[in-house]
C-alpha cells in the first residue's frame, strides 16, 4: 500500500457521506456550505494580498501574510470536508487541520502582543488631519516658494533691466569714450597745429625787418614787441613790454595820437594808422608809420588785442621834409625869377617901344630933310635910308610881338618887309613872290638879314624893270650842312647890284652894305645874271641862345 493510498484510501474507512447516508439534502448542504466557506476563505487572502501589495507602506504587513496563510488553511479544511464526503482521506483532512491549527495558534500568539503596536498606528482620521496640516504647511511653503519665485523673477527682471541698462550705458560710455578720444586726438592735432602756427608766427614776428607789436587795446599797454620795433626806439623788446605806447610817443604828438587811437577803439575809423614821432631812448624823435588793426573775440565781439606794424619812416620823412623845403625854396626862386622876367619883359617892351618911337623920329627927320632937298638923287638916297629905318623898326615890331621878346619867325617878317619895299616904290606893276621856311631868329640875325633883303629887293626894283613889269622873288630855304640860303632874284634885265647903267660912276652905298653884312654873318654870296639877276647868300643857320 502506497502513501498515496494511505492518505486517500485508508483501509477500512468509509466516506463521510456514508455516515450521512448519502442523504442528498444533507450531503448537498455540506458541500454547498463548505464550498462557499472555502471560496470565501480563498478569496480573502487574495484580497489581503492585493491590499498588502497596494499598501506597501503598511507597517506590520507581514501580519496580513500570516492572516492570509491562516484563512487559506481554514479554507482548505473546508475543501477537505467536501472531499471526505466521497473519499475517506481523513489523514489528509487531519493533517490539514493540524497545519491550520499551527498557523492559527502562531497567528494568535503573534497577534496579541502586536495589538498595542497596531493600536499605536495612526488612524486614517489622524492621518487625514495630519495630512491636512501637512497640506497647509505645504501650501504655505508653496506660497512662500511662489513668493520667493515671484520675487526671484522680479529680481531677475530687475537684474535683466539693470544689465540692459548697464549694457546700454556701456555702449553709450563706449561711444562717449570714442568721441572723447576723437576729440582728444583732434585737440591734440589742433594743439600741434597751434604750436606750429605759433612757432611760425613767432618767427615772423621776431625776425621781421619791420617793427611789430601787440598791444592791450584799452590801456594801450605793450604786450609784445619785436626787435625791429625796439631797436628803432633804441631799446630791447623786453624794455617795452608793460609800458604804454604813449610813453614812447613824442610828447607833442601824444594828444592827437591818443585821440585817433580812441576813434579806432570806438570803431569810428576802421584802422589806426598814423605817421607820428616816437620818442627814442636818447630823447631824440624818430618818425614812424604805425598801422594797427583791432582784434575782436569771435564769441563776444570784445576787443582783445591790437596788432600793429611800425615802419621806420624817419629817413623818408626827413627826405620828404628836405624835399618840401627845397621845393618851397625852388618855388620862391621861380617866383622871383618870374617877377624878374616879368620886369624884364616890361623893360624890354619899353625899350622896343622907345626904339620904335626913335626910329619914327628918325623917319620924320628924313621926311623933313627930304622936303628941303630939290636934288632927286638926294631925295632918293633919303628914301633908301627910310627903307632901312623901316626894316629896323619892323624887326623890333616882330620882337615885341613874340612871346619871349627875343625871337620870332622870320617868314612873315620877310613877307611884310618885301611887300612894304615894293609898295613904297614908284607906281610899277611888279609881282612879289616870297617863300620862306619857318625859322626862329633873334635880333642879331634878323637885322642884318632884313637889311640884306631890303638892299637886294631895292636893287631889283631900281634896276631890273625899266618898263615896270616883272617879278621879284625872295626865297629863304635850307641848304646843306645846317646852312640856309637867301636867294633874291628877278626876271628883269641883268644888272650888277646898284651900279646904274646910266650913272656907273662909283659903287653905291647898297653894295657896300651888302658885302659888309654878308661878312658879318660869315656867309658867302654868289650872283648870277641869267634871265634876270639872282643873288644867293649862304649863311650858317642862326643858333638861338
Amino acid at each position: 500500500m502506497s502513501i498515496w493510498n494511505w492518505l486517500l484510501y485508508p483501509t477500512g474507512l468509509t466516506a463521510h457521506g456514508f455516515c450521512l447516508s448519502w442523504a442528498p439534502g444533507l450531503v448537498g448542504l455540506h458541500v454547498a456550505s463548505d464550498a462557499a466557506i472555502a471560496l470565501a476563505y480563498f478569496s480573502i487572502p487574495l484580497a489581503l494580498a492585493s491590499f498588502a501589495r497596494q499598501r506597501s507602506d503598511l507597517k506590520y504587513g507581514w501580519v496580513t501574510s500570516l492572516f492570509g496563510a491562516f484563512i487559506l488553511a481554514c479554507g482548505t479544511t473546508h475543501v477537505m470536508s467536501i472531499v471526505t464526503l466521497w473519499y475517506p482521506a481523513y489523514w489528509v483532512e487531519g493533517l490539514t487541520k493540524l497545519l491550520t491549527a499551527m498557523i492559527s495558534i502562531t497567528t494568535a500568539i503573534i497577534l496579541w502582543p502586536l495589538i498595542p503596536r497596531l493600536v499605536a498606528l495612526p488612524s486614517p482620521s489622524q492621518l487625514e488631519r495630519l495630512n491636512g496640516d501637512l497640506t497647509k504647511t505645504i501650501e504655505a511653503q508653496e506660497r512662500t516658494a511662489a513668493l520667493l519665485r515671484d520675487s526671484e523673477a522680479r529680481e531677475r527682471r530687475a537684474n535683466l533691466e539693470l544689465e540692459r541698462r548697464v549694457s546700454e550705458q556701456t555702449v553709450e560710455l563706449k561711444a562717449a569714450n570714442a568721441r572723447l578720444t576723437e576729440a582728444l586726438s583732434q585737440r591734440s592735432s589742433a594743439l600741434n597745429e597751434l604750436a606750429r602756427t605759433e612757432k611760425e608766427f613767432r618767427a615772423s614776428f621776431e625776425a621781421a625787418a619791420v617793427g611789430k607789436a601787440q598791444v592791450e587795446p584799452g590801456s594801450a599797454r605793450i604786450l609784445r614787441a619785436n626787435p625791429a620795433f625796439a631797436h628803432m626806439l633804441g631799446y630791447e623788446p623786453e624794455d617795452l613790454v608793460g609800458h604804454t605806447a604813449w610813453e614812447f610817443t613824442w610828447p607833442e604828438d601824444r594828444a592827437e595820437d591818443i585821440a585817433e587811437y580812441s576813434r579806432a577803439l570806438a570803431g569810428e575809423v576802421n584802422a589806426y594808422v598814423r605817421e607820428k614821432r616816437y620818442l627814442r631812448r636818447d630823447g631824440q624823435p624818430v618818425w614812424g608809420r604805425i598801422s594797427g588793426a583791432m582784434v575782436r573775440s569771435e564769441d563776444t565781439g570784445e576787443l582783445t588785442l591790437m596788432v600793429a606794424v611800425i615802419e621806420d619812416i624817419d629817413e623818408r620823412y626827413r627826405a620828404q621834409l628836405a624835399l618840401q623845403s627845397a621845393k618851397l625854396e625852388l618855388e620862391a626862386v621861380v617866383e622871383e625869377r618870374t617877377i624878374a622876367l616879368q620886369q624884364r619883359d616890361v623893360l624890354l617892351r619899353e625899350v622896343y617901344h622907345r626904339v620904335k618911337n626913335n626910329l619914327q623920329i628918325v623917319d620924320a627927320l628924313l621926311v623933313m630933310q627930304a622936303r628941303k632937298l630939290s636934288d632927286p638923287e638926294a631925295q632918293s638916297a633919303l628914301l633908301g635910308l627910310r627903307r632901312r629905318v623901316f626894316a629896323l623898326g619892323l624887326v623890333h615890331h616882330q620882337l615885341m610881338n613874340s612871346r619871349d621878346l627875343q625871337t620870332f619867325d622870320v617868314a612873315p617878317f620877310l613877307e611884310e618887309l618885301s611887300q612894304n619895299i615894293l609898295e613904297g616904290g614908284a607906281e610899277q606893276r611888279i609881282n612879289l613872290a616870297v617863300r620862306a621856311i619857318p625859322l626862329d631868329v633873334g635880333l642879331d640875325f634878323a637885322i642884318p638879314l632884313g637889311l640884306l633883303v631890303t638892299e637886294l629887293v631895292t636893287n631889283s626894283l631900281k634896276h631890273a624893270f625899266p618898263d615896270g613889269n616883272g617879278t621879284i622873288s625872295v626865297v629863304l630855304e635850307r641848304a646843306a650842312k645846317s646852312e640856309i640860303a637867301l636867294i633874291v632874284s628877278d626876271d628883269g634885265r641883268g644888272h650888277n647890284g646898284d651900279v646904274s647903267p646910266a650913272k656907273a660912276v662909283k659903287p653905291g652905298l647898297g653894295a657896300g652894305i651888302i658885302a659888309g653884312l654878308v661878312a658879318q654873318l660869315r656867309g658867302t654870296m654868289t650872283m648870277r645874271n641869267d634871265h634876270g639877276t639872282s643873288t644867293e647868300i649862304r649863311l650858317a643857320a642862326p643858333v638861338l641862345l
Partner: protein
C-alpha cells in the same frame, strides 16, 4: 552932326613925329588941319576943325591918352581914328579895339602903310 572936313588931324606928343607925319600926309595931297600933343588939345582941335581922319598916338602928355581923346572925339565929332603906336601892349590894344579904330599902325610907319590906312579909313 555936321559934315566933316576932308582934313587930317595929327596927334603926337613928339614934335618931330607929328611934323614928319604931317609932311607924309601932305605929300599925299591931303590937308593937315593941325597937330596936337595932348588929349585936350586934340579934342579942342578936332571939335574946331572937324577932320574926317585923325592920326592918333596912344601915349600923350598929360593924364589922358590917345584912347581917351579918341573916345571923346568919337562922341562929339565922329572922326575916324587911325592909331599910331610904338607898342603893342595887350592892355593898350584892348582899349584901342574898344574904340572902333579905323586902323592901327605901328611905328615906324612907312608911306605905303599910312596911305593904305588913310584910303581905307576914307572908304569906311
Amino acid at each position: 552932326m555936321n559934315a566933316l572936313n576932308d582934313h587930317i588931324l595929327v596927334v603926337d606928343d613928339e614934335y618931330l613925329i607929328a611934323e614928319g607925319l604931317k609932311l607924309q600926309v601932305e605929300e599925299m595931297g591931303i590937308t593937315v588941319c593941325g597937330t596936337a600933343a595932348t588929349a585936350a588939345e586934340a579934342i579942342a582941335l578936332a571939335q574946331q576943325h572937324r577932320p574926317s581922319i585923325i592920326l592918333m598916338d596912344v601915349r600923350l602928355q598929360g593924364d589922358r591918352d590917345g584912347v581917351d581923346a579918341s573916345l571923346a572925339i568919337h562922341y562929339t565929332v565922329g572922326s575916324k581914328v587911325i592909331f599910331i603906336t610904338g607898342s603893342r601892349e595887350p592892355a593898350t590894344m584892348d582899349r584901342i579895339q574898344r574904340d572902333h579904330p579905323a586902323a592901327v599902325l605901328f611905328k615906324p610907319v612907312s608911306d605905303w602903310q599910312l596911305r593904305n590906312a588913310i584910303e581905307t579909313a576914307k572908304s569906311l
